[in-house]
């Protein structure tokens, strides 16, 4: 029980090393190991979250190698992992989605290609390790290492099929490395001024630093890096190609979790490190955050506008991700209690709903090879369960009342109104309107089909290959069903989610006026 935070990383990493090895023996064994490993990881994450909630101050720090700062004169010499309500919940979310992805990708990899499936599962496990590490680490350089693990695993997984995916992945490498370099330079500046890499220690020492120009430069660099990784509007171009040409079994996981973990890093950078009242860092960070808010508002609208102009469903969903993650960033930028709760709710809702959308699109593609929107004719009727899953997830992202998206938008709006930021209110309203447009277009196509302008019954949707008769294997439908159920739960039990978990996620400075 004492070692849960370490197990969260140790289990997937140990199995990541073994899986390619066992795949030389039998691919089936490799898949079994990765499934059990991810199951235990999810339990470890949930257990550590539950335990962390009981500790005073809800913060469970675990130092590696026995180098606790407390027993070494208060100097943070080792690397520390911190489990608090936000990182614990996000880690559980990541582990759960990873488990669903492994199950979902099962039937899509031919088992006869042993090494390839072993390598695929190995990379998926390292990707999960990277994301979990980024979520719960308490050390800025350690965060960079896990950022690189995530990025590299993502480059490889995305470049598997086809040469366009290779080009997209190469472009992703270039942009990702620029972002990582900016992060490192920013981190170097912070290290040069404070001498430490541990987040808790850094925030204490940063508050005594008077050089506002250097802190400003460091924060701008790190924020640029994180916004690029989150694919917010001005820096989003790499994402659409990557989501379009990547293998359909990986995209739900990457789309669902990566941008959320990076958004959490942005939250931690500003709210737990910089916001120490009265310090120069606080003042500079506030200004940088306002700029981030403006960029996020523009990206919220621009993302939706770009999504409307797309023909390919996955490219449309990629731009929709840009607009949704900038809504989360906007919540972080506004900063008061309800906006933050809105950002967390939207992040959770988007994780489940977007993963479910990509799984549904993957299922449509699996049976009918439909990629462009006009090939989706009447698929909602021929594949009813996938159609319903797509519609519910779409309604949830649109933000219609009984869904989680609505409550997230409600908190975000009340946060913006509280701050009298009418520009943000307008951006949120216009953004969700536009998101309704591009989703309604697809839903209508799914259920009513296309017209060739002559007004009589819809023409036979020409799908690239014949609609395969045998319906989807169970393992491709079950994850989708689970994701839809979670999307609905985030909506209906939103109050319990907020009062049970999200409420404790608020940083110290922000009070919840209950």
């Amino acid at each position: 029980m004492r070692h849960l935070p370490a197990l969260i990383i140790a289990i997937p990493l140990a199995s990541a090393w073994i899986v390619p090895l066992t795949s030389l023996v039998s691919a089936w064994l490799a898949r079994l190991i990765s499934i059990t490993a991810l199951m235990f990881t999810t339990l470890a994450c949930y257990g550590s979250l539950k335990h962390a909630m009981t500790l005073p101050g809800m913060r469970w720090s675990y130092t590696f190698g026995g180098w606790e700062a407390s027993s070494h004169g208060g100097i943070p010499i080792g690397i520390e992992h911190v489990i608090d309500p936000v990182s614990g919940a996000l880690a559980t979310l990541v582990a759960a989605l990873a488990l669903l992805t492994v199950l979902y990708s099962g039937p899509q990899i031919p088992l006869r290609r042993q090494v390839r499936s072993g390598v695929y599962h190995g990379l998926l496990l390292t990707l999960t390790t990277g994301l979990l590490g980024m979520t719960i680490t308490g050390d800025l350089f350690n965060l960079y290492v896990f950022l690189e693990i995530t990025a590299l695993s993502a480059y490889a997984l995305l470049a598997k099929t086809g040469n366009r995916a290779t080009l997209a992945s190469l472009r992703y490498i270039l942009v990702g490395t620029v972002a990582a370099t900016f992060y490192l330079i920013g981190l170097g500046h912070l290290y040069a001024v404070t001498g430490t890499l541990n987040m808790a220690d850094l925030s204490v020492r940063l508050s005594q630093v008077q050089d506002s120009r250097l802190i400003g430069f460091a924060l701008i660099l790190i924020t640029l890096a994180l916004l690029t990784k989150m694919a917010v509007f001005p820096f989003h171009s790499w994402q659409s190609d990557v989501y379009t040409y990547a293998p359909p079994m990986v995209i739900p996981f990457i789309a669902g979790t990566m941008s959320k973990v990076v958004a959490y890093t942005l939250f931690r950078l500003f709210y737990t490190i910089c916001f120490v009242d009265g310090s120069v860092a606080h003042h500079v960070a506030r200004q940088v955050l306002d700029v981030v808010g403006v960029v996020a508002a523009i990206s919220l609208v621009a993302g939706s506008v770009l999504a409307i102009a797309q023909k390919d469903v996955r490219r449309m969903l990629a731009y929709s991700s840009t607009s949704q993650i900038s809504a989360v960033a906007l919540g972080l930028a506004i900063g008061n209690a309800s906006a933050l709760i809105g950002a967390f709710t939207l992040a959770a809702n988007h994780a489940f709903a977007k993963a479910c959308l990509f799984v549904a699109v993957g299922n449509f593609h699996h049976r009918s090879g439909a990629q462009n929107i006009e090939y989706l004719d009447r698929l909602g009727i021929r594949m009813p369960l996938t159609g319903i899953a797509f519609t519910i997830a779409a309604l949830s992202i649109m933000g219609l009342p009984p869904t989680g998206g609505f409550f997230g938008k409600w908190y975000l709006l009340s946060g913006a109104v509280e701050k009298r930021a009418w520009g943000y209110v307008l951006a949120i309203v216009v953004g969700s309107l536009l998101s309704a447009v591009y989703f309604a277009r697809v839903i209508e196509r799914l259920y009513v089909g296309s017209f060739d302008g002559t007004g009589h019954s819809p023409s036979r949707g020409g799908t690239p290959r014949k609609f395969s008769k045998e319906n989807l294997p169970f393992l491709m439908v079950a994850p989708m069903a689970i994701l839809v159920i979670f999307t609905i739960l985030v909506g209906f039990y939103n109050y319990d989610l907020v009062s049970g978990l999200l409420q404790y996620m608020l940083p110290a400075g922000v009070e919840w006026k209950s």
């Binding site: 309800s338 709760i341 309604l395 219609l400 009342p401 009984p402 609505f406 409550f407 938008k409 409600w410 908190y411 709006l413 009340s414 109104v417 509280e418 209110v425 309203v429 969700s432 309107l433 309704a436 309604a440 209508e444 009513v448 017209f451 007004g455 009589h456 019954s457 819809p458 939103n494 109050y495 907020v498 009062s499 919840w512 209950s514």
Partner: protein, 504 residues
């Protein structure tokens, strides 16, 4: 106004939702499926009647609030205004179910299971709107109603209905977002209190008689405009009414219940809620908003009737007539005096019964002769005497003839206008009555007097021509004794009294 804590409003809302899985499960076993619809309808009406009995004695039935968002709860409060709308919706649901069974089977439509399932969802959303205790509950059911009506509008799945559906979605989504922005702003201005309370929550009346305004007046006016856009689209106030005529592509039972009673009335009802329970009549006066609203209402009444005059399609004509009739309610709310409010609230009921009769007749004509084109209705009165008799009663009611319910609401509206010394509005009411006569009576004259072949009884299947008769009789009975059945008029007076005298 003592409070009775009881979950009956919640059950009333949920009962038709529970029927949905049963309807979907029973699928193509039509008779079994219809049984579920009727059972839900009758049970719902019984529940609403029991609530009405309690409310008409002057007390409120409040369901235990369900926590929803931090600071706001899902409150279902049955107050006189809410009960009237609930009674109207649930009673007409039974009649419309009979009618739609006949209409669907006679016209051999497909997707009937989907049709009845979404119909039940719409009804539960309408009940939710009627019993909503605060703005956030109102908005949740308001949006569910929008989404649940869309599949019904595009029921025929052909090009025309899909375009109509698209237009409907665009209008209602824009309205929904403006409404949401307004609600959040009100939540902020009234610092965390969104629940409807008679006489308004935004302004506190100082003993000196004038108002202490929460924000500066321009923000209050902007928020009111946003509210009116949000509610006005559904209430088809003139610049925002575009979707209603093009939504007529839906099958006639849908147009009759939803687009004459449930959906559009939700808009008008919302307008009454905002004017009476959020802003309050006094604050409207203070900010000069009632003249602003009255202007829009009058324009809609007149231009609506003119457009009705111009259209040759019977359903289009009825649609524009609905647009103008709805603005009677908006006008009543704008005037703000007690009689005007009574007239407006009673018109909710009166117009409901009369307009549904007209739509039923249009539907039965279409089932029999597959046409809505008015010139082709010449001489049909003799072949379908019962339908056209009901049509005549409905038309007289809309025109405001005495002995039919329409007259009472117009009378009170005019009385209220005079009390609030806005006599020019009476002229508008008179002009609109003339226009009503102008676009209805030629149809009736051609139908009966033009041809001379003998009167024959070529009505279609009984469930298609009996419901218009029932609703026409109800309209007449309500005309004669407004407190028939459940005392609509008494409830209207209670509600109006609450609004004007601030829940005193």
């Amino acid at each position: 106004m003592e409070i009775l804590m009881d979950d009956r409003p919640l059950y009333a809302v949920l009962v038709s939702l529970l029927a949905v899985p049963m309807i979907v499960w029973s699928g193509d076993r039509e008779n079994l499926r219809e049984v579920w619809t009727f059972a839900a309808a009758i049970f719902k009406l019984a529940l609403v009647l029991s609530i009405a009995a309690v409310v008409s004695k002057g007390s409120l039935v409040v369901a235990h609030p369900i926590p929803l968002v931090h600071g706001f709860k899902l409150e279902l409060v049955a107050d006189p205004l809410g009960v009237i709308f609930a009674l109207l919706a649930s009673s007409l649901w039974i009649v419309t179910s009979i009618y739609s069974v006949g209409y669907m089977r006679a016209g051999k439509y497909q997707h009937q299971t989907g049709y009845f399932a979404f119909f039940a969802i719409c009804l539960s959303a309408t009940l939710g709107i009627a019993f909503a205790g605060n703005l956030i509950t109102f908005f949740i059911f308001y949006e569910i109603l929008t989404v649940a009506t869309y599949p019904l509008v595009i029921h025929n799945r052909d090009q025309e209905s899909v375009l109509g559906g698209r237009k409907y979605l665009i209008y209602t989504f824009i309205a929904g977002q403006c409404f949401l922005a307004a609600i959040v702003a009100t939540g902020y201005l009234a610092d965390g209190n969104l629940s409807f309370s008679p006489g308004g929550i935004l302004a506190t009346r100082l003993p000196g008689g004038e108002y202490m305004l929460p924000g500066n007046p321009t923000i209050l006016r902007l928020v009111f405009v946003l509210f009116m856009i949000g509610v006005g689209v559904k209430a088809a106030i003139m610049p925002l009414h575009g979707w209603l005529p093009s939504a007529m592509v839906a099958p006639t039972p849908v147009s009759s219940l939803l687009h004459a009673v449930a959906v559009v009335k939700a808009g008008a009802f919302g307008c009454l809620r905002i004017v009476g329970f959020i802003y309050g009549v006094g604050l409207m006066e203070e900010l000069g908003l009632n003249d602003f609203l009255a202007a829009f209402a009058v324009v809609t009444i007149i231009v609506g009737s003119l457009r009705a005059l111009g259209s040759q399609n019977l359903k289009q004509r009825l649609a524009f007539s609905t647009v103008s009739q709805l603005s009677y309610i908006v006008l009543g709310a704008a005037i703000g005096s007690k009689d005007a409010l009574i007239g407006a609230i009673f018109h909710v009921v009166a117009h409901g019964f009369m307009k549904i009769t007209l739509f039923f007749c249009a539907g039965s004509i279409y089932t029999r002769y597959h046409t809505y084109h008015i010139p082709r209705l010449r001489g049909m009165g003799r072949k379908m005497p019962v339908t056209f008799a009901a049509f005549t009663i409905g038309a007289c009611g809309i025109a405001g003839m005495p002995l039919v319910a329409g007259f009472l609401s117009k009378w009170n509206l005019a009385l209220g206008a005079i009390h609030a010394d806005r006599t020019i509005l009476v002229a508008a009411l008179v002009l609109s009555s003339l226009l009503n006569v102008a676009y209805f009576f030629p149809i009736i004259r051609d139908a009966f007097l033009e041809s001379d072949d003998p009167v024959s009884f070529e009505e279609c299947w009984w469930p298609v021509w009996i419901p218009p008769v029932i609703t026409a009789c109800c309209a007449v009975i309500l005309g004669l004794n407004p407190n028939a059945f459940v005392g609509f008029f008494n409830l209207a007076e209670l509600a109006a009294h609450g609004i004007v005298f601030g829940g005193g």
